[in-house]
């Protein structure tokens, strides 16, 4: 089990973002985490990435409680733009590369080209879509064990969305890497997802193998999203 969550609770002032969820993810699986805004998806990802701490319960990555050491295995693609606007694109990539021993700068250059990003441009001058593409470059420039993609397509223009989805299919090492992806754009990544977990108000509303759920309920993932998670 690469991700093991047991009775996980997270409280923010005035609200519980997570209400005792438990689940596990096997190595090499692609798990969709679907739910409306405020359903707890981003909080779950932030806990797994080590950005925030659970109020109660445990979150383990690769058999270890989330800590500085587990971050060495996790590529986290945040919903927000986490990049330094004053850095050039390549400077930002090289900055991150210094913290991950197995970061492949040739791969970064190849991905920048594939994503149509100018390495010499300042990050601050990039559009939202271009920044979204840069996040994908940074996510797949090193062979992480777990990829956490929090709304990689939100607010991104259709051409950038297309490139990001193409990159996902091209760069993801199926069977080796594990990916947790949260998105509203279910139709864009629907065929990519192997397992799915619908979240509502901090709880798991439905989860299971995507194909099995489709067959069992006679609904597409998009339809399930509407009936279960909204």
């Amino acid at each position: 089990m690469i991700v093991d969550i047991q009775d996980l609770w997270k409280r923010y002032p005035g609200t519980w973002a997570l209400r005792g969820i438990s689940f596990g993810v096997e190595r090499g699986r692609v798990q969709g985490v679907l739910g409306e805004n405020g359903s707890g998806k981003s909080t779950l990802f932030r806990i797994l990435a080590g950005l925030t701490r659970p109020s109660k319960g445990t979150a383990e990555v690769m058999g270890q409680e989330v800590c500085t050491a587990t971050r060495q295995h996790v590529a986290y693609l945040a919903e927000v733009n986490p990049f330094y606007d004053w850095m050039k694109v390549m400077e930002q990539v090289e900055f991150l590369a210094r913290f991950y021993p197995n970061w492949d700068l040739d791969k970064s250059r190849e991905l920048l080209e594939f994503m149509g990003l100018d390495a010499d441009k300042k990050v601050g001058t990039l559009s939202r879509g271009q920044k979204g593409r840069l996040k994908v470059v940074c996510t797949f420039s090193w062979p992480s064990d777990l990829v956490l993609m929090d709304e990689p397509l939100a607010g991104i223009d259709p051409p950038s969305r297309k490139r990001i989805v193409e990159a996902l299919f091209k760069e993801f090492r199926f069977g080796e890497q594990t990916i947790l992806i949260s998105t509203h754009m279910v139709h864009e990544v629907g065929e990519f997802i192997e397992d799915v977990m619908f979240m509502k108000e901090g709880e798991i509303a439905l989860s299971g193998n995507a194909d099995a759920l489709r067959e069992e309920r006679g609904e597409s993932i998009s339809e399930m999203f509407e009936t279960v998670a909204m």
Binding site: Y12, P13, R46, A49, G50, L51, T52, R53, T68, A69, R71, Q72, V74, Y76, A78, V80, N81, P82, F83, Y84, D85, W86, M87, F95, L96, R98, F99, Y100
Partner: protein
């Protein structure tokens, strides 16, 4: 390259505009002040006559007052621009991120401090030359004492700010209020125990200074090490509290 050094260089680059602005301002004030005529003893005080002393003095004030704000800015700009997401997801301990910020602002403080200390010594030399007396304090005593004051001040101020930022980002609500409460509490405790602590540290002795007066050298034994040691110890304690809280409690 060591990951801490990577963070340190990043902090220098991130704040380079504000650091350069401050350095240019300090150098400008010192140089302009030194190009003004030396005030004649007993002359009527007007701006033209005293600017040679006031402007380098203002450079000292500018440097000292800017240090805590620069360090607070280094933390807050990270959180405001949301780049703290990047910092928190890196496989490094968060106290290293804090130490890199402190070191970057500290470097600026030392460079600026060296400029103003040399500037102030030149002011002393010019006044002494003008009145035909040797400088009252020797260069070595002047640099040693000024350096000690600067270091003690920087350590205390960086400790205060690091503590404030540490507690600020470890709570989810009332962050400004929490930081303000920490600041007031820390200052109160600093003042409350100042007397007892300096008495306890009195064993550290006093710094002898040779003062020149009317071509006679007088050895003055009056400057105790204890107040500086107390400032440095308090600063280090606050620094440890701030770093520990930021490492253990700060979260997004």
């Amino acid at each position: 390259m060591n990951t801490w050094f990577v963070l340190y260089v990043k902090e220098l680059k991130a704040n380079k505009n504000i650091f350069l602005f401050l350095l240019v301002l300090i150098v400008g004030l010192v140089v302009y002040g030194l190009t003004q005529p030396v005030p004649m003893p007993g002359a009527k005080m007007d701006w033209e006559k005293i600017s040679g002393i006031v402007l380098p003095g203002f450079a000292v004030f500018t440097l000292l007052i800017s240090m805590p704000f620069l360090l607070a800015h280094a933390y807050n700009s990270e959180w405001k621009s949301e780049t703290h997401y990047q910092m928190f997801s890196l496989p490094i301990r968060q106290y290293k991120v804090s130490l890199a910020k402190i070191a970057a602002v500290g470097s600026m403080g030392f460079v600026g401090g060296a400029i103003v200390i040399v500037g102030m010594y030149i002011v002393q030399m010019r006044v002494s030359d003008f009145i035909g007396q040797p400088p009252p304090v020797s260069a070595s005593d002047f640099y040693f004492l000024s350096g000690l004051v600067l270091i003690a001040y920087l350590v205390l101020v960086f400790g205060l700010v690091t503590g404030m930022e540490g507690v600020k980002y470890s709570v989810k609500q009332y962050r400004g209020l929490t930081a303000a409460a920490f600041f007031i509490g820390a200052l109160y405790l600093f003042g409350r125990f100042a007397h007892q602590a300096t008495e306890m540290l009195d064993f550290l002795g006093k710094i002898p200074i040779q003062i020149q007066h009317n071509h006679t050298t007088i050895t003055y034994q009056g400057i105790g090490v204890a107040p500086f040691a107390y400032m440095i110890l308090s600063g280090v304690m606050l620094l440890i509290i701030g770093l520990a809280v930021y490492e253990k409690r700060a979260e997004i």
